[in-house]
Symmetry: C2
Subunit: 415 residues, 2 copies
């Protein structure tokens, strides 16, 4: 990359992009540069095709028989193992189910029970909030349990880890800044202190290579509707290391987690494997869209994905700073690509209005309170020219002051 | 109805059925008599249409903007209120979310916390098992909590209710026998002893009129993929009486239940209303199919629905006993229609093979271990002639011994 790439240089980057053909698998609206795949991934033809089959043929024609003929009951583990490839998990350790929030409850509760002589849960003050809310919820079920937060109780999470800590709940990539944690190092640190660790992969699964087994992680959770492109509210996943499966117990002990769900026994007996993290009947239609989305991932080289992700985000930072530097946008994400997920955030006092002006011009990122514009770069369907064009529009909005239009000042219910 | 109706009499019943036109809204496979809507309701054109719009237009084209433009975030309460009409709940008390199992956990946990000086959970030994498994899970989170079961610790649930009981968890209609409980009487009995009551409506919501407000119920849960026809694994619902909303706390305190979810606050503050029972991001595509299914319910008269349901099930019992009485099928459901849900079960030592033989002939009911053939009658799309034809085929299978074919003896993974 040259110091100040021009359009020709950017187009040349697209021309040699080994993931370029992936874009054709996705349905992207005309006139939109979609930089919000870190919030809701785009739809693919494959996802729609699976959804259509699940609805028309399986539900519509096979009806109840589809539980057997279409393998609905096994989808949580089948799709779990396919996500496993993206997150460095050998088969049998990942299951797709429920929501990230619910899954955090299951694994945190289970981890706390595995350390009965310890009472502290450590998390990040700047975590995506639901992680903290769920940790509060888990703590409320055990007398004496305490939640300690990075940024509140100590400057760094490492300083909070001591021999009273039962479990550390930490985000691999911060939802707002995009900062990427060193998974292996923090896992070692927590385990050396006798604690267990839960990684939240919402902003790293499908965004970059993850190596849960290699880092000896205990538990992880994550969502499938961001970089994995499973669709709005697609079910989340849980990873539990094989070494914990025989003994771990979680309290959402529903029939789908039973060793013999169709024996209709009176007492609960957990499945011997990862299915013990299941609870109730899963949303099959949504899960089938996720199956289609995972088909898209079949031949994706995760190292190439990461390389492109860093190149996209590096280019965006470079162009924004070069072309919009005079307008008060301050980089909030790590400048070093190896310390960053696949997203870039800038701070600005008028972040909300700026993002609304961008969206009105077809550049879709999002706003995060109080003052962040956030842009996600999904390497499967975002190209280098998209980055160029997005910055062209951003520069125009900043230069002309278009964001000052009154219609951009009113906040929507969901921002 | 005559004592032994003939085909002409049955066709006459269809001719005057006020719900007859509803059948045209549904997609039913050719050559199938579908008597398993109590396990998975049939798909309707409306459900497919909503699903298609949610996928193609909203996810595919609007992408992240659909959270605002398509009202995704408000669907749990919007659909909750519409289900409210079917279960006798005034607006603001019902929310659609997660699974029945997870929702049982929330309400049982919350109810136990509302009775800190009591430690007993009462349930039915012959409950659908996940209710018991979830009660076990909740009990495991509180020292001293005990689960006492009808049929195990006492012959009737009423006998288990005393001043040590915190909460009674009970099914409105038994999943296997179809027995219907007296909601108002049992609610009074539990509350008179100072206990709270949770009704599981999985087999009554959409099957018959339910009057939660009228019976002064505390909490209820239920599923939407049976009689409500929301689709496979469609999200479940929770009802909480208005009088409890200000104080009730449930531990799955995720961001969707927060008073200000998009303020991204560090601490949890529950929504003032029924949204406090939400947890994480809901499966939007599946929920939109449910929205379509609820459109079908808009003008359904619940009294007419009940009248037809009793007539269908009465006819089925009468015909089976008259024509198949010699073959060892023993009625397991209440004979009195007013004590029965919209399903009929018979016991037979060879129940599994008989059901497989029926399915092979296009009559779809289901088997419940160890020895039950179960038939559900969804008044919206099952007609009287369907009942006649189903019994014709059953009689043929019993008379010829067709069920003895070796291929009907092998149990599927999911039965």
């Amino acid at each position: 990359m040259t110091a100040f790439p021009d359009l020709a240089a950017v187009e040349a980057m697209d021309a040699v992009d080994p993931l370029r053909s992936m874009r054709d698998r996705f349905i992207l609206p005309e006139g939109v540069i979609y930089l919000d795949g870190n919030s809701l991934g785009a739809a693919s033809h494959g996802a729609f095709s699976e959804l259509q089959a699940a609805a028309s043929k399986e539900w519509g024609q096979d009806l109840i028989r589809a539980w057997n003929t279409a393998g609905w009951f096994d989808m949580p583990t089948e799709l779990g193992d396919r996500i496993g490839r993206l997150i460095g998990a050998a088969p049998g350790q990942t299951v797709v189910c429920d929501t990230t929030s619910t899954n955090i409850y299951k694994v945190l509760h289970a981890a706390l029970a595995m350390r009965p002589d310890r009472s502290v849960i450590v998390a990040e003050g700047n975590s995506f909030p639901t992680d903290l809310y769920m940790a509060e919820g888990v703590a409320s079920t055990r007398a004496g349990a305490v939640l300690r937060l990075e940024g509140v109780d100590a400057p760094s999470i490492e300083e909070l880890i001591d021999d009273k800590v039962a479990v550390v709940l930490v985000n691999h990539v911060n939802y707002k800044s995009g900062e990427l944690r060193d998974m292996a190092a923090l896992t070692r640190k927590a385990q050396a202190a006798g604690a267990l660790i839960v990684w939240d992969l919402c902003h790293s699964a499908g965004a970059l290579p993850v190596d849960l087994d290699g880092a000896n992680v205990d538990f992880a959770v994550g969502c499938t509707y961001k970089y994995i492109n499973g669709g709005p509210g697609a079910p989340a996943f849980i990873y539990a290391a094989t070494r914990h499966l025989a003994d771990v117990q979680q309290p959402l002990s529903g029939w789908w987690g039973h060793a013999r769900p169709f024996a209709f026994e009176q007492g609960y007996a957990a499945d011997a494997g990862i299915r013990r993290f299941l609870c109730g009947t899963q949303p099959i239609l949504t899960m089938r869209a996720l199956k289609g989305a995972l088909d898209d991932w079949d031949n994706v080289d995760m190292a190439a994905l990461r390389k492109k992700s860093i190149a996209l985000t590096d280019l965006f930072i470079q162009l924004v700073e070069a072309r919009c530097g005079a307008y008060g946008l301050k980089l909030e994400s790590p400048r070093n690509g190896t310390k960053r997920g696949s997203q870039v955030s800038f701070e600005h006092d008028n972040a909300y209005a700026i993002m609304q002006a961008l969206i009105a011009r077809g550049v879709i990122g999002d706003f995060r309170a109080p003052a962040t514009v956030r842009f996600g770069f999904t390497p499967l369907y975002v190209g280098f020219k998209d980055v160029w064009q997005a910055v062209e529009i951003l520069e125009d909005i900043m230069r002309t002051g278009a964001w000052k239009d009154a219609r951009f000042a009113v906040k929507s219910a969901v921002t």
